[in-house]
Amino acid sequence: MAPKLTVTRREFVKDAGGLLIGFSLADSAVLPRVLAAASPETVAAPSPGRLDSWLRIDKEGLVHVFTGKPEIGMGVGTAYAQIVAEELDVPLDHVQLVMGDTASTANQGGVGGSTSIMLGAKPLRNAAANARFLLTQMASRRLGVPADQLEVKEGVFRVKGDATKSVSYADLAGGGDLNDALKVSGDGFGLNVEGPGKPKDPSTYTIVGKPAPRVDLPPKILGHFKYVTDVRVPGMLHGRVVRPSGVGATFVSMDETSAKAIPGFVKTVVKANFVGVVAENEWAAIQAAKALKVTWTQPKQAFPEQMDLYAYMRSAPVKASKETLKRGDAAAALSNAAKKVEASYEFPFQSHATMGPGCAVADVHADGITTVWSGGQKPHELQKGFAELLRVPIDTVRVVWVEDAGSYGRPGFEDAAADAVLLSEAAGKPVRVQWMREDMTAWGTKGPAVLCDLSAAIDAQGEATAVQFTSRAFSGGETHFRPGDAGNYLGAQLTGIPNTTGVDEFAQWGVEAPPYAFQNVHAMAHVIPAFYDSASPLRTTHLRDPEGPATSFAVESFIDEIAAATGADPIEFRLKHLEDARAKAVLTAAAQKAGWDTRPSPKKAAAGGDVATGRGIGLSTRNGTYVGTVAEVQVNRKTGAVRVTRFVCAHDCGLIINPEALRTTIEANLIQSLGRGLKEEVTFDRSNVTSVDWVTYPVARASDVPDRVEVVLINHPELPSSGAGEPSSRATAAAIANAIFDATGARVRQAPLTPARVKTALDAVRSA
């Protein structure tokens, strides 16, 4: 038996010994009640059309919520608890969540696209509202008064004006099923359920919108929390993988002598080019993987020299194209322009470089139930993909999500889990795989490199009349961000299963960067082919805000360049060319909080001193969320070193659920994206990624953290919530680049903004 990390819905029912309670709905003609059928002990996901698939109330009155959405470190679990507690009027700590276990939670598509609140909370809110509706009917019957004479506080119904008459949720429904039918719409991220119970009017909220301490933080900080790295299954072995000597290298032979000499060594596993070792303990597995001598064929020279990356991208064939914005005739306006501004921006491959390099435990039983514990963001997709990988029916595979390190997309936790599946299948025992650092940083998936060319027309009156944008980028989905196919996983590709899952995903102005309302606009996006079609260490997928930071770096830098060319203040210029009131509002709020010095950039050079200071703005508009970020920087003119001294970030994501967790999420996004803007760049040679650790792939460290980080939250209770997990990552690099320009007049158009690149730009200004 596996250790119990979570109580599943069915186990819960069993433990509670509850009676199945049914209830006729008022409008049962519309929503025929589904009689509870004896549920077979399979591992199939529960039907979303039943209320009890989402929510149950136990004998103690605790509300158990079942969601296919995992927590990935931003506090969404606490927000869900707030939403459910609000609808049911129970204390926040009465809500307990089961997240991402495919056997007990509905398939909500997993986590992605900053949609966990925007879309993922809807069915939870509606399920809670319908539970409230049913409980109210039950209480009305039990207490013999009409529903409108009841009030609820902390899970107890009372008759208005008669304190003697009360009944609790636990008394009414404790241990039983609220097994009414719900109307299901959509699927994946868009899965929703509705019934006769309607959610509260947001203006009456008392729990949602108030700061709530994150439920996961005390156990984590006190050391009681269990991550996926801490899953231990009886009889579990430890596995490590041995990757090819480079892209396209194939297995020739191996010498196991040294590996076999390691105490605890169990076996090597070779399936085509997938090589791994299994041992009784972790240290033995690590040593055996190191000791195993594998001979590989020469790797392919599939990558260009790193210094030639952008030249390569410019000349590479185009695989797919998309027009993302078109208004007026930009080409004509450009050919008639009194003045033109032209610039190109380059953004490198970046790594998820997760804090924990990826870990999973797999217990494969070809003839029975296979269980995989993984921290991947999309457990139901993994269930599908692993069933295909093992060639077994999907209902025999259970993926139990257990939190891993922050994932920021599809980092390779999925690949690590597939490695565990392959090794467990071969070993006939449960196998835990934790990747080594280089397995993640070098062989994990990457965010794509993006190249953007922009040009603007300025007329005789000094007005910007047209902007043209062309991106050439690797796809944001060479490895599909929904890991639901066997060919999606690195290990599977090494065994010879082709990656047929890739999609063309573009770097789009208008989607990944704000659509300014110039008279004439034309934006084209091109995808260029992957360097190598299978098992490449430079394969791309979603990394926090796919293409957003890259496209915004280009567009938000270029908007500043046009502002400078027309002698306008960067914020005033933006306000003039924006139509959306909420976009304008975040700019104004950020400017006000920052004490923005309204004037054109660059700043007039201050006399003397090696250190110049400046301020820059970046705007992000993403799927209903608006972010204005002001960066203040110090630039060392001698060394090119940049230090961000202050961030001010104004953030509007509609209705705020938990302002405290939102603020810390934004702060973290700002610091992470500061690192991406100033330091992060995947390095590679002709056959390998050479970023293998925290030295060769540097991220933000303590010395990089600004002295002041200020977040301005703009709440719109009248609007639905939109996403907040990613948008504040988007415009940071541009805000910093704009501040560097403001300080020095030097424009750096290649990210990250390293001292060497800033120095080169400074030298160019000096010699101009």
Binding site: G73, I221, P357, G406, R437, T664
Partner: protein
């Protein structure tokens, strides 16, 4: 393999391990102490930090033989009598961290820092933390928690 006695969180444990095995794997796999975490295995991130004789060290870089006879404290051993250590209380109060995978390193390093220097300057704090990684970027909350813990250390001094 050889028998070794390790004193961890005040208790002596007898383990049979390869003396060259890094302390990290012995703590995790033999003693099932989960908080020293594998982040890089090369001493660059601090996720595996433990206190050895009150000094914050990287357990992925310490072979177990060198830990024999020393007082080892992990995050599990920082709480006393079910009460959070003031450093833990400060991190909880500041709602620090996103995923929290790295927090073992930050909490243990903060404890070691404040035990030696209860009122670190901003520069001293950044310097003590420069060798730690928080990939999520929770540094703003971390710094706030350290200042809060420093205040409470001063109050109780």
């Amino acid at each position: 393999m050889s028998a070794a006695s390790l004193k961890v969180n005040g208790r002596v444990h007898h383990v049979d391990v390869d003396p060259k095995c890094p302390l990290l794997y012995v703590l995790r796999d033999n003693l099932e102490l989960n908080n020293p975490r594998f982040g890089c295995g090369v001493g660059q991130c601090g996720a595996c930090t433990v206190l050895v004789d009150n000094r914050a060290v990287r357990s992925c870089q310490w072979i177990v033989a060198n830990a024999i006879g020393k007082e080892i404290v992990t995050l599990e051993g920082v709480e006393t009598a079910g009460k959070p250590h003031p450093v833990q209380a400060a991190f909880i109060a500041e709602q620090t961290f996103q995923c929290g995978y790295c927090l073992n390193g930050w909490v243990m390093t903060t404890k070691a820092l404040l035990d030696k220097n209860p009122s670190p300057s901003d520069a001293e704090m950044r310097n003590a933390f420069e060798s730690l990684v928080c990939r999520c970027g929770s540094h703003v909350g971390i710094f706030a928690a350290v200042r809060r813990a420093s205040q409470s250390a001063k109050r109780s001094a």
